[in-house]
C-alpha cells in the first residue's frame, strides 16, 4: 500500500503547501495565484479519490495514522476515516476547487489572500473530519474559524464586518464550553490523553454525562445550526462572497451533525438517547420555521440561507432518531445539501455578478434569455426539494422512514417541511425563470459562460447520479453507521429495559 499509509497527512499537507506557495508568489501576478490555487485544490481532490478506491466497506477506521504530538499528555496526532467521514472528505475536496472556479472572476481584490485562506480553510475542514483525538479535533475545529472569518470580512458584501464578527463570536462561544467539557472528561475518566478510542472505553457517570453532552451539543448545535441557535447563519451566508457561502453551506454546516455522530453521541450515549426527543423537536421546529421564513424572502440568497436551516433540520431529525436507516439518511443528506445548496449559492452568485442584485422581484422570464441557466437552475431546485430521481429524495426518504418508529409525530410534521420546500423553491423558480421578461435590464443578460458551465455541470451531474446510484454511497456509509448505532444503543440503554426501547430492534 505504501503511500496510502500517509494519505491523510498528505491530504492535509498538500493544501497547506499550496497556501505557502501562493503566499510567496509575486503579488502582481494575479493569474499565477489563481492558477496555483486551482492546481493545488484539484491535486488535493485527485489525491482524495484514492481514499474512495482504497476504502473497504467495513465499520473500522481506515487509513489510520498516529504520531506522538505531546507525548507527556498522551496527545497524539491521530487520524483516520470511516464511512461517516469518507464522503464528507470527498465533498470538501470537491467543493473547494468548485468554489474557487466559481469565483474566478468575481474576486478581484487581494486575490492572493483569497486563495491562501481558501486552502487553509480546506486544511481545517479536512482536519476536523480526520481527527481521532479530541485535542486534534478541537485544534482544527477552531483554526477553521480564522480563514472563514477573513473570507466573510474581507470579500463579503455590505454588512460583512458585522457578519464576520458575529460568525466568529457565536462559533467560538459554542466551542469553548466544549473545551472545558474535554478537560472534565479527561479528569473524570482518568484517561491517558484525549484519544477518542481510549475515551470510548471509559464510561462516564450518567449524571455528569448530561452536562458534558450539553456542552458538546451546544457547540455542534450552533454549527449545524439548530433552531434557536441559527441567527448567525443568515447574516454569515448572505454577507459572505459566493465561495464563502458555498463552503459554509456545503461543508462547515456539516461539522455540527458530524460532531454529534462522531463525538457527542458515542461519548455520552445515555444522555444522548435521553435528550434525543428534544433534539428531534428542535430539528422539526427548524424544518418548519426555516421553510416558512424562506417562503417570504424577497432576496434569493437569504432564501437559500434559510432553506439550509430547514434542510439541516432533516439531518438532525435523522441523527436524533438514531436508527441505522435514519443516520445513514442523515449522512447522505449532508452530502446532498452540500451539492444542491452549494449549486444554488453559485447560481445566485452568477445572477448577482450580472445584475448586482439578488432581489427576486428584479428578475422574471430568464428562461428565454438564459436557457442554459434556466435548465440547470430548475434541476438544482428539484434536487433541493427532494424530487425522486434526485439525490435529495434518497436522503430525506431514509431519514423519514428511519425516524418513523422513534418519532412518528415529528415525521408527520417534518413532511410538512417537504411540502413547504417544494413551495418556496418552485415559487422562486417561477418568479425568476418564467413569464415575460418584465425588467428591461434582463433582456440582454448573457447565458452561462463555459467556465460557469464547468462549475455547475459536475454538481448537477452528481445530484442526478447520487439520486440514481445511491447504493454505491450508502454501501460504504452503512457499516460504520450500523456499528455506531449498535454501540451507542447498547451502552446507552440500561440492561433491564433494553427491550422496551422502540428502536432497539432496528427495522432494516
Amino acid at each position: 500500500m505504501g503511500a496510502s499509509n500517509y494519505l491523510l497527512s498528505l491530504l492535509l499537507l498538500l493544501p497547506l503547501l499550496g497556501a505557502v506557495v501562493i503566499a510567496l508568489a509575486p503579488r502582481a501576478n494575479v493569474g499565477l495565484q489563481k492558477t496555483l490555487g486551482m492546481a493545488f485544490s484539484l491535486a488535493t481532490f485527485a489525491l482524495s479519490l484514492l481514499l474512495v478506491t482504497g476504502f473497504e466497506p467495513v465499520a473500522e477506521m481506515q487509513f489510520v495514522e498516529r504520531y506522538d504530538w505531546i507525548p507527556a499528555y498522551g496527545i497524539s496526532f491521530h487520524l483516520g476515516i470511516d464511512g461517516l467521514s469518507l464522503w464528507l472528505v470527498i465533498l470538501t475536496t470537491f467543493l473547494t476547487p468548485v468554489a474557487l472556479l466559481g469565483s474566478w472572476s468575481s474576486i478581484e481584490q487581494r486575490v492572493k489572500e483569497f486563495n491562501v485562506f481558501m486552502l487553509l480553510l480546506e486544511v481545517g475542514m479536512l482536519g476536523v473530519f480526520f481527527a481521532l483525538d479530541l485535542f486534534v479535533f478541537y485544534i482544527f475545529w477552531e483554526a477553521m474559524l480564522i480563514p472563514m472569518y477573513f473570507l466573510i470580512g474581507i470579500w463579503g458584501h455590505g454588512r460583512r464586518i458585522y457578519a464576520a464578527v458575529k460568525f466568529f463570536l457565536y462559533t467560538m462561544a459554542g466551542s469553548v464550553l466544549m473545551l472545558v467539557a474535554f478537560l472534565v472528561l479527561y479528569k473524570e475518566t482518568g484517561a491517558v490523553g484525549f484519544g477518542l478510542a481510549e475515551l470510548l472505553k471509559r464510561p462516564v457517570d450518567p449524571g455528569l454525562q448530561f452536562w458534558l453532552f450539553l456542552a458538546f451539543a451546544l457547540a455542534f448545535a450552533i454549527k449545524v445550526p439548530m433552531f434557536p441557535f441559527h441567527t448567525w447563519l443568515p447574516d454569515a451566508h448572505v454577507e459572505a462572497p459566493t465561495a464563502g457561502s458555498v463552503i459554509l453551506a456545503g461543508v462547515l454546516l456539516k461539522m455540527g451533525g458530524y460532531g454529534f455522530l462522531r463525538l457527542a453521541m458515542p461519548l455520552f450515549p445515555q444522555a444522548a438517547l435521553e435528550m434525543a426527543p428534544w433534539i428531534a423537536l428542535l430539528a422539526v421546529i427548524g424544518i418548519v420555521y426555516g421553510a416558512l421564513v424562506s417562503l417570504v424572502q424577497p432576496d434569493m440568497k437569504k432564501l437559500v440561507a434559510y432553506s439550509s436551516v430547514s434542510h439541516l433540520g432533516f439531518v438532525m431529525l435523522g441523527v436524533a432518531a438514531f436508527s441505522t436507516t435514519s443516520v445513514t439518511g442523515a449522512v447522505y443528506q449532508m452530502l446532498n445539501h452540500g451539492i444542491s445548496t452549494g449549486a444554488l449559492f453559485l447560481m445566485v452568485g452568477m445572477l448577482y455578478d450580472r445584475r448586482h442584485t439578488r432581489d427576486i422581484a428584479e428578475f422574471g422570464g430568464l428562461k428565454t434569455v438564459m436557457p442554459w441557466f434556466a435548465a440547470l437552475f430548475l434541476m438544482v431546485g428539484l434536487s433541493s426539494i427532494a424530487v425522486p430521481g434526485f439525490n435529495g429524495f434518497v436522503g430525506e426518504f431514509l431519514i423519514l422512514v428511519g425516524s418513523w418508529r422513534a418519532f412518528p409525530g415529528m415525521v408527520i410534521a417534518a413532511s410538512l417541511g417537504v411540502i413547504l420546500a417544494a413551495a418556496y423553491v418552485l415559487w422562486m423558480i417561477q418568479r425568476v425563470l418564467y413569464g415575460e421578461v418584465t425588467n428591461p435590464k434582463n433582456e440582454k443578460l448573457p447565458d452561462l459562460s463555459p467556465r460557469e458551465l464547468a462549475v455547475l455541470l459536475p454538481l448537477v451531474f452528481l445530484a442526478v447520479y447520487m439520486g440514481i446510484f445511491s447504493p454505491q454511497f450508502t454501501r460504504t456509509i452503512e457499516p460504520s453507521v450500523a456499528a455506531l448505532v449498535r454501540d451507542v444503543r447498547s451502552a446507552g440503554a440500561p440492561a433491564h429495559n433494553a427491550a422496551a426501547l422502540p428502536a432497539a430492534a432496528d427495522a432494516r
Binding site: 507525548p71 477552531e142 480564522i146 470580512g153 466568529f168 463570536l169 462561544a173 469553548v176 473545551l179 472534565v184
Partner: protein, 483 residues
C-alpha cells in the same frame, strides 16, 4: 574561610557588569560619535543568555545554592533566566529606533533596563525573603525610572509617578507579610518558613494566614490582578512602548516566578486557605480585565487591560496542584511573553516622528499597506485570544486543565467565556487592519532590521509553541518540579 561559589550568580553578574560598562561607556563617548550602548548591551545579554542555556542544559555546571543558600540556580531559576534574558534582548533590539523617533536615544535606557533585569533574575532565583524583597526593589526602582524616560511627555512622568507610588504600597504589603511569616517561623529562608507553617500550632495559624494574605496583596499588585490593577492602564499607556513591553512580558513573568516559589513552592501547608482566595481573585481578574478592555479605544490601554485579564488566566492555573500548576504557568509565561513583546514591539517599531499607532484608525488598512506586519500582529492577537494554532491556545488549555483537575471547573468556564469576550476586542484590531480602508498617507516608519528580527522571533515562538509545544512543556515540567 570565605569561599563563595559564584557560578550560580554568574548570569546575573554578567548582566550587572554589562549595565555598569554601558554606563561608563556612555560617559566616555565623545559628543557626536555613535554610542556603543546598544552593541554592548546586546553582547552582554547574548553572553548571559548563552551561559544560562549552558547551565540549563548541563546539570553539572553552576547549579546549586550560593551566598549562604539564599540564591539558587535550579531548573526553575534557569528556565526563567532564559525567558527573561531573551525578552530583554528583544526589547533591546526594538528600542533604539523607538527612542530616536520619540525623543533621542539615551544610554540610561540600557543601563536601567539591565538593572531591572538583574532584579528580575534575582527575584526568580532567590529562596530567601529578604533577598527576594531586595531583588524586587532593584527591578522596580529601575522600572520607575524607565517609565519616565520620555521626559518631555507629561504622560510618561505620570506613569513613572503612579508606578512608583503604587509600587511602594505593594512593597509595604509584601514586606509586612514577610515579617509576619518570619515572626512565625523564626527565619526568612523559604524552606524554614515552609516547615514553620506546616508545624504551626492552632493559635499561630491566623498569623500565617494573615501573612499569606498580605503576600497575595503584594504579588497581586506586581502581576496586576484585580483589585490591585488600577495603576496598570495609566502606567502602560504613559511609559515608552518598549518599556511597556518589558513590563508586560518580563515583570509579569518574574513576579509570577516569585509568586510560584512562595505559594505552591513554600506554603503547600496552607493550600486550603490561599487556593480559594486565589481562585476568587482569578475569577474577578478575568472578568474585570476583559470587560475593561472592551471599553478601551487606545490600543496601549486595551493591551493593559488585556494584561490584567491574562494575570487572571495565569492565577487560575496556579490553583492547580503544584506541579501541573507550575508547568502550565511557566509555559504560558513564555507564550505570553513572546506575544506581548511582539505586540508592543510592533506598535513601537511603527512609530515615527513622535507618533505611534495607538488607535484603530491608526492601524486601518495595515493589511494592505504592510502585509507582513499585519500578519504578525494577527498572529499575536490570535494567540492572546487563545485560538489554535498558537502558543496562547496550548497555554490556556493547560492553565484551565490545571484548574479543572483541582476541581475548579467553574473557574475554567469563566476563563473560556471571558476569552470569547476578549475575541471581540482583539478582533476589532484585525477588522481595522484588514476590513477597513486606511485613510490618508501611510504615516508609519518601516521597522529597521533589528526590530524586524525581534518581531520575527516573537512570531516564530508564538506559532512554534502552538504547533510543537512538547519540548517547552517538558522543560516547564522539569522546572516546576524543582520548586
Amino acid at each position: 574561610m570565605f569561599a563563595v561559589d559564584l557560578r550560580p550568580l554568574l548570569p546575573a553578574l554578567i548582566v550587572a557588569i554589562t549595565a555598569l560598562v554601558v554606563l561608563l561607556a556612555q560617559a566616555f563617548t565623545p559628543k557626536g560619535s555613535r554610542s556603543p550602548s546598544m552593541g554592548l548591551t546586546v553582547t552582554g545579554l547574548a553572553g548571559a543568555l548563552l551561559l544560562s542555556l549552558t547551565m540549563a542544559a548541563d546539570a553539572r555546571y553552576g547549579r546549586g545554592a550560593t551566598t549562604g543558600g539564599t540564591y539558587v540556580a535550579d531548573d526553575f531559576a534557569l528556565f526563567f533566566h532564559v525567558l527573561l534574558i531573551g525578552l530583554a534582548l528583544m526589547a533591546t533590539l526594538l528600542s533604539p529606533a523607538y527612542y530616536r523617533e520619540n525623543g533621542g536615544e539615551r544610554g540610561e535606557f540600557y543601563t536601567l533596563m539591565l538593572f531591572s533585569l538583574v532584579g528580575m533574575l534575582g527575584l526568580v532565583s532567590t529562596t530567601e525573603m529578604i533577598s527576594m524583597f531586595v531583588a524586587l526593589e532593584i527591578m522596580s526602582v529601575a522600572l520607575y525610572a524607565l517609565a519616565g524616560t520620555r521626559r518631555d511627555q507629561i504622560e510618561s512622568q505620570e506613569s513613572a509617578l503612579k508606578y512608583f507610588v503604587t509600587g511602594a504600597f505593594a512593597s509595604a504589603f509584601l514586606l509586612f507579610g514577610m515579617a509576619l511569616l518570619y515572626g512565625l517561623a523564626g527565619s526568612t529562608q523559604l524552606a524554614r518558613v515552609a516547615r514553620g507553617v506546616a508545624s504551626a500550632s492552632p493559635e499561630q495559624v491566623p498569623l500565617a494566614v494573615l501573612g499569606c494574605g498580605l503576600l497575595i496583596v503584594g504579588f497581586g499588585f506586581k502581576v496586576a490582578s484585580v483589585p490591585f490593577h488600577m495603576w496598570t492602564p495609566d502606567v502602560y499607556e504613559g511609559a515608552p512602548t518598549t518599556v511597556t513591553a518589558l513590563m508586560a512580558a518580563g515583570v509579569k513573568a518574574a513576579a509570577f516566578g516569585a509568586f510560584l516559589r512562595v505559594f505552591p513552592g513554600s506554603l503547600p501547608a496552607l493550600r486550603e486557605e490561599w487556593v480559594p482566595a486565589l481562585a476568587a481573585l482569578a475569577a474577578i481578574t478575568m472578568v474585570i480585565g476583559n470587560l475593561g478592555a472592551l471599553a478601551q479605544s487606545n490600543l496601549k490601554r486595551m493591551l493593559a487591560f488585556s494584561s490584567v485579564a491574562h494575570a487572571g488566566y495565569l492565577m487560575s492555573g496556579m490553583v492547580g496542584q503544584s506541579e501541573a500548576a507550575g508547568q502550565a504557568v511557566l509555559f504560558y509565561l513564555v507564550a505570553y511573553g513572546a506575544v506581548n513583546m511582539g505586540t508592543f514591539g510592533l506598535l513601537a517599531s511603527l512609530s515615527k516622528g513622535g507618533r505611534e499607532p495607538l488607535s484603530l484608525q491608526d492601524v486601518a488598512g495595515l493589511g494592505e499597506r504592510r502585509p507582513a506586519l499585519a500578519a504578525a500582529l494577527t498572529v499575536f492577537l490570535i494567540s492572546l485570544t487563545g485560538v489554535p494554532i498558537s502558543a496562547g491556545f496550548v497555554g490556556k488549555f493547560y492553565l484551565f486543565g490545571a484548574a479543572v483537575n483541582a476541581g475548579y471547573t467553574s473557574l475554567a468556564i469563566v476563563g473560556v467565556l471571558m476569552s470569547v469576550v476578549s475575541a471581540f476586542y482583539y478582533l476589532r484590531v484585525v477588522v481595522a487592519m484588514y476590513m477597513r480602508e486606511g485613510e490618508g498617507e501611510d504615516a508609519w516608519a518601516a521597522p529597521e532590521a533589528s526590530a524586524r528580527l525581534s518581531l520575527l522571533v516573537a512570531v516564530v515562538v508564538t506559532l512554534g509553541l502552538g504547533v510543537w509545544p512538547a519540548p517547552v512543556l517538558d522543560l516547564a515540567r522539569a522546572a516546576a518540579l524543582a520548586l
